[in-house]
Symmetry: C2
Subunit: 164 residues, 2 copies
Amino acid sequence: MLNIQISPLAAETFKSFGDVIALRDIPDKIINQGLCGRHHNLARMDFGLNGIAGISLFDAKQRSLPYKLDMMERHPEGSQAFLPMSQNPFLVIVAPDNDGKPGTPMAFKTAPGEGVNYHINTWHGVLTPLFRPGLFAVIDRIGSSQNLEEYWFKTPITISGDAS
Amino acid sequence: MLNIQISPLAAETFKSFGDVIALRDIPDKIINQGLCGRHHNLARMDFGLNGIAGISLFDAKQRSLPYKLDMMERHPEGSQAFLPMSQNPFLVIVAPDNDGKPGTPMAFKTAPGEGVNYHINTWHGVLTPLFRPGLFAVIDRIGSSQNLEEYWFKTPITISGDAS
């Protein structure tokens, strides 16, 4: 059984899959009389031809490690951003496309205060919080078409690492 | 000096100013093999004629109560959503429009896990976290025009209540 180790999330490694939504070293703009830093426009979003941007909340159950990855999915008509409404890390799994199927997955753990935005049509695992509450704001496409493709692995893949 | 008491945030009271982004009583859809509830499309967003949706992070200093409100602002070209990346409540101040100026403000405290979306051109106070970290994901208009109107009160208004 394939066993994949979890790495810390890094923007450079992640960039072919999506955006790490995190504070920059220096804010782009200081606002509110010096009391707030604006870190501007951190995600490349796409909502397809007939979709619009929406904010939804995902309330997901905590997962434990090692995690058994049996399915990955992608959204052909839109990007999808996950913003944790807690300071807890979560598990991020992505894969390159390999002829219409996910290639070898990569697994990352976010730092507190980080979110991710999966680019349009990028293979990714479902939302996998490592702590409670598993509450996330999700910015994705609102539209009437299906916008979901799933791929089930014949043999599940083990994702190993340290949650804490 | 005008003194305004903070109330708990309630969707019904808030609806003429914006959306409370919070879990519904029942999720709209159960996804991820039963492990996640999707609470779907919770905000009425608007990005104007020439704007697009963006995700930014705001890193704001903690404020204490009573809070001195000396300025309110509005964005004529877009809605603006604030999603706390912590489980901490924050202070939300809005006002009806009164002939191009803010009327009497109303002040609310969110519950943990709640965000807000100010509708386009709605008078509101700047981001006022009541706890650290004051880290928020902000979904608002990305565009090149100014999109900001400020109103400074001649006499500041006191906002009173209990942060905890």
